[in-house]
């Protein structure tokens, strides 16, 4: 159940909203870059080893 934040509801919720958004964006960007690099590296290594182009 949502606690009663009283007159400070806006600043408390904004703090959580901004912080969690920044964390999720950082995690997503870090994970996404890892996936993209792994795919690109696999493709180049396969090409070097005479695999499919």
């Amino acid at each position: 159940m949502m606690p009663d934040l009283g007159k400070y509801a806006l600043v408390v919720l904004a703090s959580y909203g901004v912080s969690l958004t920044l964390i999720v964006a950082l995690v997503w960007a870090s994970w996404r870059r890892g996936v993209r690099l792994r795919r690109d590296l696999s493709r180049v290594e396969a090409r070097r080893n005479g695999g499919p182009r």
Binding site: W31, G34, L37
Partner: protein, 242 residues
């Protein structure tokens, strides 16, 4: 077995591949438990009202913003002394994580300061040193991006990291030797009498554990990416040369 064995990229990739899923799971668990506990199950403070709930984000983020830079300092020193590429890449990987934690600290501090101090911002020693730390993070990231040669970039950013460490330490200790600021003293101390009340203290510890584990997870993932990017760049250069 020596710690330096993990300076070998292959060994680091094997170790980080095994560790990062566990670190990620533990980070999510601690963050969910700590934030739900802190937000839903703790009372308001008798002076600060419900704004005390901001402590579960503000304090762990501030702690890790400083510690991220100190981790970068250690990694930079290892690079400068022993020339291990993985340590330079780990420092590079940690910078955006540290910057994000610094931004969270500044934003939540502003949201907390407005109702308590009547202002979003004050040129208080701790606030100002954190702003300078954020600028150092931006400069560090920009310097890595601006220099094409990886080893030269690692050298110059390591020197910048050494200089920035002064501000990281200043951010940590500013409240102790500058008393004229608005910012209160440290919320956590080895002296139990100086800590926040137990009802806030224990969920705060869980949140701090969550932020530490999140940092470890992200640095592992991002260092792996940096190693892959470096190898990809080398392979493509070799291909171009024929």
């Amino acid at each position: 077995m020596s710690l330096w064995e993990y300076a070998n990229p292959k060994k680091f990739m094997d170790l980080s591949s095994a560790v990062s899923p566990w670190a990620a799971g533990a980070a999510v668990l601690c963050l969910v438990v700590g934030l739900v506990w802190g937000f839903f199950l703790t009372p308001d403070d008798y002076r600060q009202g419900s704004t005390v709930k901001i402590i579960y984000l503000h304090v762990p983020a501030a702690l890790m913003a400083i510690n991220a830079w100190l981790m970068m300092l250690v990694a930079s020193l290892i690079w400068l002394v022993r020339r291990h590429h993985v340590s330079a890449l780990a420092a590079r990987a940690a910078a955006p994580v540290g910057l994000t934690f610094t931004m969270i600290t500044l934003v939540t501090g502003a949201f907390w300061g407005q109702p308590m101090w009547g202002t979003w911002w004050a040129w208080d020693p701790r606030l100002t040193s954190f702003l300078i730390l954020a600028l150092f993070y931006l400069g560090y990231i920009a310097l890595w991006a601006a220099i094409e040669d990886g080893d030269s970039a690692a050298d110059l950013t390591s020197v910048l990291c050494l200089v920035g460490s002064v501000f990281a330490l200043l951010s940590r200790y500013a409240v102790l030797f500058w008393n004229q600021g608005l910012h209160q003293g440290a919320s956590l101390s080895l002296d139990a009498k100086e800590n926040v009340a137990d009802v806030f203290y224990f969920p705060l510890l869980v949140c701090i554990a969550g932020f530490v584990l999140l940092f470890v997870t992200l640095v592992l993932i991002r260092t792996r990416s940096e190693i892959m990017a470096r190898r990809l760049k080398a392979l493509l250069a070799r291909e171009r040369m024929g």
